[in-house]
Symmetry: C2
Subunit: 488 residues, 2 copies
């Protein structure tokens, strides 16, 4: 490749297409026709701006979008590189019909499928999916409480089920949410079938092709799938120790038709980082200024080990924030219930969408959850969970320190560890060895929108029994050694 | 209006736009600028074809699509008329945000909202929504069975929950579906959160703007909403005593990009009509010929009073059919569970969509349903239901005959009556009087895609207690008299 390829770029300031888009377009064309090979390093932003005679901000925007699209990737310190071309679309419709699919099944992340599939294989030690530790699983207690409650009130299953949720449960949520300092009225609450459904309803109500969503890099892959299913694009922003970085956000807000910013501010999935109060305020201020919504996913914040984390962004008081609290981590994932809080107008419209999607969440589980919470059981249960998880966390620390290759920062709460392994170990390859050896985890790059974090892994420590957890970490050390040997 | 307005039509055979579309386009423009007034009768198809110098089939196609779009309506014997212009879009977003919605909230049928809202008002006698008669409600029995089952197998709530559904329940479905003569393999079955979710998943997988769906006129309004939410259009076909008419279907299949045909062949909602076996076979043959899917909604067929109805189209053996059996009518609507049967490739892809929508249906209810069915309870329960509903049906017949204005054909199964009232009574107006008097029903035109069936009502007889049911029908007679007096 000649060094002068960048000079072949034809950027025209008079063209209607914004400059950064022209740049992306040119890069795309050059990758397509082979003039730009995967692995090629892009000139620095400063140099590129000079070469193309555009502002540096234009280059930043182009790079951010190319990262979001997975066209390039950045390595801190070493620059930005063209990624390998898009993977060939999976062809696996074993149906013999002349019918085309409308849903973008080929573009969704396969990570979630694999996490689910591995989770179903009960012979594997599951360090990938987040479950509930068997020693503190509330299933039996929850169902006893439910049967007792129903015995006393046999009419309950015959009551109407509004789309916004079982009313006694929604009323209970008003006081429950005070625990996280959220003050809310009944019509600002709806019950959804898990946070995933909340994200799907929000996506369907607000997003269409051409819209943009900003989310953390790395971040929750299920959320990314829900957004992409609408045809919207995702812009990714990395985190520092205070949460999502805001330095490039304002530029993005000015340049892109952004519909909302999706964040998981407390014990973020997967990094465990908690956004500082100052950052929460600043994010809210920026989004209010640009009239952009914040979607706040808060599944872990009651699982703090010592100090309470900063309160949810929603509690800082704004109609701009849609807040989701899932019960998957506080009870167990199979319960598929979450509470969604937003301004009344948004709730009203989300309910309209939900009505066309499943009418309402099933009443049996809602009645069970209401019985459990209203008798004070959930609060007690969360104390039990925290003590069990803190014990597990200490165990993990000890076990992980037994080998030289895994480095994790201990989180202040939540349900997993974000760990770094040596640079030469791509963890999605390592996973193949792991599955062969009998355990699973989530490779870092599955949580990335731009193919980064290849030498990271997410370890959930809540699913297996203590015995299997120990065994799993031993196998992890063993598997890394095995992989390193195989490499050389 | 001059008689010659039809001669102003500018149809150009050389134009790329199909002729029938040109006609629709012209009608639209003329309604818009006021040259064609609501109520104007269109010339007969034969005459119109001659006037515009096009084939009669072109006129049929244009009329069918205009009906489907709600632009015109037909009265048998008296011709086709321009309808009143589209209603002003509801403006009710009480949110003060500069955010646009992507979901077509303004275009959805408000009927479902009203049925749900009235259902939540427990002071109203509910003849609108389909519920489970209180004297045979299985709630207590189901939950006792569930608790007992869980006590014996305390690990159940800790098991992984695959997106396709709780495996023991799916296995149970293999034998359950034999009752309706459907022979199926495990990978051809998935569990969904109610038939509504099944229809939503199918719509999202297959439909995009520009696609067409054929459904019965009148037909299930929830289904129409699910299809329209994707931007697809609906073509409506009326029924005769053997089910959906097939005489115009083949023309439609040739002319429109139809993705699937949605039918409810047994005790059709709302007419109660059951499609004959001959018609089922012919429909399947036509759809196979044109490579079009059939979506078969079968929520009532086990609720036959005397003779078993014809077997489901799915049982006639074809990969072209997606079959949905809801448990809402066999147990109770709040349970939100249905079984969906299709070719393995379709199930695989529907599961991918479901994974992004809610991961999986909640396990508590799936385990409860499995326990209930596997112990033979559901089969016994359905016998109880049938005897209770037959009793109610006879009661209804007697009560309805007490007044002179309501005429219903008794159905051979299912959960409601489709009744005709005098022509001068538009039943959506009547509903306002009914609600004031303390009861509800579904006005016929809510089930229509083209504003027909204005003097029909759908009466569900399964929801209220027997006492309230009697009271409700008395109130119905009274309300019709009141409305007639008010009119004159």
């Amino acid at each position: 490749m000649t060094k002068n390829i960048w000079e072949e770029f034809a950027i025209n300031a008079k063209d209607k297409m914004p400059l950064y888009k022209q740049i992306i377009h040119q890069v795309e064309g050059m990758v397509h026709d082979g003039r730009l090979k995967p692995g090629t390093r892009l000139p620095s932003e400063r140099k590129m701006a000079k070469l193309l005679n555009v502002s540096r901000m234009t280059i930043t925007l182009a790079n951010e979008e190319m990262k979001a699209r997975g066209m390039v990737r950045s390595h801190q310190g070493s620059g930005t590189f063209i990624l390998r071309g898009p993977r060939a679309k999976e062809v696996e419709r074993d149906l013999d019909l002349p019918v085309e699919f409308a849903y973008p099944t080929g573009e969704i992340n396969q990570g979630m499928d694999e996490i689910m599939r591995h989770g179903e294989n009960t012979h594997l030690i599951n360090l990938a999916g987040v479950g509930t530790a068997p020693e503190v699983h509330p299933g039996i207690e929850l169902s006893q409480c439910f049967s007792e409650h129903l015995r006393k009130n046999p009419i309950l299953l015959q009551l109407p089920s509004p789309t916004q949720g079982y009313e006694p449960l929604r009323l209970e949520m008003i006081s429950w949410l005070k625990k996280v300092k959220i003050e809310v009225k009944l019509n600002e609450i709806m019950i959804v079938s898990g946070a995933m459904q909340g994200l799907d309803l929000i996506s369907r109500l607000f997003l269409k092709p051409g819209d943009y969503v900003v989310m953390e890099e790395p971040g929750f892959l299920g959320a990314a799938d829900a957004f992409k299913a609408t045809g919207a694009k995702i812009l990714r922003i990395t985190l520092d120790e205070e949460g999502i970085r805001l330095d490039s956000l304002e530029n993005m807000l000015m340049q892109f038709p952004i519909k909302f910013i999706y964040v998981n501010p407390t014990y973020q999935n997967p990094t465990g980082v908690t956004m500082s109060l100052k950052r929460r305020k600043k994010l809210l201020e920026l989004c209010s200024k640009y009239g952009v919504l914040i979607v706040e996913d808060d599944p872990f914040s009651l699982l703090y080990f010592e100090d309470k984390p900063a309160p949810p962004i929603k509690s800082l008081g704004s109609d701009n924030v849609i807040y989701i609290q899932s019960f998957s981590k506080y009870l167990y994932p199979g319960i598929r219930l979450a509470v969604l809080v937003a301004n009344e107008g948004i709730i009203h419209n989300l309910s309209k969408v939900k009505q066309r999607v499943d009418l309402h969440s099933n009443n049996l589980t809602q009645i069970a959850l209401h019985a459990y919470i209203s008798e004070g059981n959930l609060e007690n249960h969360i104390w039990k969970l925290k003590s069990a998880y803190l014990e597990r966390l200490h165990l993990m620390k000890e076990l992980l320190n037994e080998g030289p290759y895994i480095h994790c920062k201990l989180p202040e709460g939540g349900v997993f560890l974000w760990c770094k392994v040596p640079k030469e170990i791509p963890t999605d390859r390592l996973l193949e060895f792991a599955v062969k050896n009998g355990f699973t985890f989530v490779p870092g790059n599955w949580m990335s929108g731009v193919g980064m974090f290849e030498n990271y892994i997410r370890l959930a420590y809540t699913h297996p029994s203590l015995e299997w957890l120990k065994k799993g970490i031993k196998l992890l050390h063993h598997t890394i050694l095995e992989y390193k040997e195989y490499q050389f």
